[in-house]
Each structure stands twice: as structure tokens, then as C-alpha cells.
Chain length 138, copies 4
């Protein structure tokens, strides 16, 4: 289920379900920036890949707009993971949140937060089981 | 704990704690747009107020950058609620996620998602109990 | 061309054309936050109103996702202006950039930058004269 | 002036000045997604590289928050360019806008718009010549 760009970056799909996906990678020297830490574009590509897999699990969709908040740098050799969850799904658009984690010795630590909205190319009914995580919240 | 703009819009603080806040309001006719639904700026002001309260609970902070994803329109007469949670806190910046809910007869339903990052005006140590919700996740 | 929420906030349309709009207002005491400066939600409402007018000039459209970057605080009594310009227009979506300016004695000064994307409710052909400001740039 | 990740993706710096940078690349098969078009993460990495160069031209800075709006797909073989301009510069933060263009036979065409804010690691005075492009605008 990976695509050419994910292969180029060594990203692997750990799990994939309706509206969700988990992707993992390793920060290599080829992924560093001028500060010697993981490039913002590398961490984004990790998150974006999980986002693309999660959103396309509902039928073909294209990204419209995304946001990335960077919290902590990552270092060469560290393993990183992106966990994409569906926040909203309608017939024409859908929104996902992706947590980007560093898998250190002390357990996972969040290093970035990604939010993304897609446009769905085929008008579809929303599956009955689609998550609307606001239900029952608050 | 409300400010002049919140009073102007009839917004009330329901709860306030370290790094979190809940604000509620009611969509009045004075808050509608040209389509006759709640103005995007009104829903944003609701979310932004919860964001400001949650972030300033950690010491003085100013907003740097926010994102708002709109999912569903709200109607005049509906009650709406913003629930702000801390996603990340460091000495200089912090990031919050705010769920915006419509409080209908069938329970709360998410109508928008807000993400915001602040710059903290006084350098502070991060409280030991500060949430880092990635711990133990994934 | 103003709507109820704009009237509530005292916002006025200065100009309106295909894919563009200019809206002005004045920071009143009723628009302040806890720091005693203009509320982030007020400045956003100003920008969002210009965005809504500019995007609906192309036919009915609803906001999907927005971003607001805050640069400088505004004070009670200051006049502020939002200038919305079309960055992209297609049959289904469109994106606008809104500069938020403070109109001081030394000329306009940017206090915030807004970016917003809409979903267009009626499938339309893109007008031949629609701006694509990348043409000829760079 | 390129970094390891830019080299991995074949990205080259075309120009670099105070607060601005232009970076170019070519969409290779190794950069495609599952739809067979350029991966969103590749276009983002292009824009993010121009953003990093432009912001670090003012002294060391790290990305806090970014937004990417996608307009059109790009194809294998196409040349793409990112043009980063400074929108705001203060002692502690700065914001950049990056236009992402496809360089086709009919001239440049915008395919995405990137907005990014950095935190500046060393407190610096703002250079007298720093752009504040709102001056004289509107």
C-alpha cells in the first residue's frame, strides 16, 4: 500500500483501516536539514502519507489544505510514527488529525501535529459506521 | 474570567483549569451571515476565547497562528460549546486543540475544529504536571 | 452587502468586486480581550467578512478551512482594514489571501495575515477573466 | 546552501537573499503518490526548503507552524519552483509566504500556496531594510 515517494523515504504502513492509518519511518542522514536535525519536509511527508492513506480508504480523495505544528526536533537514527485519525467525514470533504511521534526509549513522545482536509472525488454516502468522534464527547 | 469581546457575544466560561477551558454561547440573530447561518467569525470567536483562556492559564501568552476547519453550519437559537485542550507546552510556545460542538437534542455534534499556537511572554519552566498527551499513546 | 454579524461589529464594506473585497472597522472597547488589546476573534471576524464577500462574489460558497497569523496587537480607537484577494479559483474550490492592516498616522501597517479556502456550492465554469496571479510571476 | 534532504530530492537553490529564496526541482517517478501525480509531501518539501532558507537568512530560526493549500496536481517530468517572500519579521518570530509554481510551456502556473511562521533562536534587532510589505499597500 505504499507509493513511490514513501518508498524513496523508507516509510512503511503499519496499519490501515476505514478512516485511519499508521505509518512509520526512520530518520536517516539523507533526511536532515542544515541544523543537522530531521527536515521539516521529511516529518511532513510522514504525516501526509498517513493522511493520504486514511482519507483514500474512504474512496479517492485529494488534499485541499493542511497544517503542520512542529514541537520538537528529531535526530538521525530515531524512529518516527504518524497516527492518522478521522475527525470529520461528509459526502464531499473529510478532515484528519495526524499525531507525529518519536519512538524513544522512554515511550512515544509527540514531535508534531498535522491537520488536513480532503476533497472527495466521488460523491459517496457516508458509511453508517463512520466516526464522528464528537458524539458522546464533552 | 470573561473579557469585553466575550461579553459582547454573550460567551460564558463553563470551566477553566491548567491548559484547558470550556466556553459556551448561543447563536443569536446578531451572529448570522448572509446565508442566514452562524457567521464563521462568531464560531471562531467562540473557539478563540477558549484557546485564549486555556493558554493564558499557563501565564501570559499571545496567539501566533491558528487554523479553523468548518464542518457544519449552525442555526439561530442553537447552543454551541468550545472545548480547549493542550496538545503541547514548552517554555516558549504552546499548542491547543479546540473542538467546537453544537448542543442539539441528540447530544453534542462537532461543527468545527480549531488549532492554535501561542508565544509565551514570560519564560517559564514547564509544570511537572503539564499534559503531554502523546505519553502512553499510540 | 453587510450581514447581521458585520453590523454587530460595526464592519463596513469599502469595495467589492469579482474575487475581491475590502472591509473596514474600528476597534471599540467592546472588542477587547483580557490583555486590553483587540480580541483575536474580532480581527479574525474582520478578515473572515472580507473573505466571505470576495468568495461569494463568484457564486455561493462556504468556508472549509482558514488560517490566521497574528503579527501585532491593535488598540481601542484604531481603524483596521481587511483586503481580500483571490489566489486561486476552480470550479469546486477557491482560495483567498486577506491582509489585515492597521490604519495609523504613518500609513497602513500589516497586523495579521489570513488565508482561507472555500467550497463552491454550484459547479460553475471559471470566468475567463478570473485571476490566476501566478501567470507571469516569478 | 542545500541540505541533505534537498539533495535527496534533487532540489536546487536558484537565489537567496535577506528574507527570500527561490528553490527549484523536477518531479521524478520517485516523487509520485498512489494517484500517479506528485506527492503532496514532495511539493511541501520544495516549499518548506525555500521557507527554511529565507527564514534562516535572518539568523537561526526553527519552524513553528505551516499551512499548505493544494491547487493542481503536478506530473512526472515537470519542473517546479518555490518562491519564498517575507511577510513579517520581528525580533522573535517571522512569517513567510511561498508560491509553488509549475514551469510549463505556457509560463509559470501556481499549483500550491504555503504559509509558514518561524521562531527566531537569537533575539535580534530587525534590520532597517527588512520588508514590511504592508507599507504603502492598500
Amino acid at each position: 500500500m505504499s507509493d513511490p515517494f514513501m518508498e524513496t523515504l523508507g516509510l512503511k504502513v503499519l496499519s490501515l483501516g476505514p478512516g485511519e492509518a499508521v505509518v512509520e519511518g526512520r530518520v536517516e542522514k539523507a533526511h536532515l536539514n542544515l541544523h543537522g536535525t530531521g527536515h521539516g519536509g521529511f516529518l511532513y511527508a510522514l504525516a501526509d502519507s498517513a493522511f493520504a492513506l486514511a482519507s483514500n480508504s474512504r474512496g479517492p480523495a485529494v488534499a485541499l489544505s493542511t497544517r503542520m505544528d512542529y514541537f520538537r526536533p528529531v535526530r538521525a537514527g530515531e524512529r518516527v510514527r504518524a497516527v492518522a485519525q478521522e475527525v470529520f467525514l461528509s459526502r464531499r470533504t473529510a478532515t484528519y488529525r495526524v499525531d507525529v511521534l518519536r519512538l524513544g526509549e522512554d515511550g512515544p513522545e509527540r514531535v508534531a501535529l498535522f491537520t488536513g482536509t480532503v476533497y472527495r472525488l466521488e460523491v459517496k454516502d457516508v458509511p453508517t459506521g463512520a466516526r464522528d468522534s464528537a458524539q458522546g464527547e464533552a
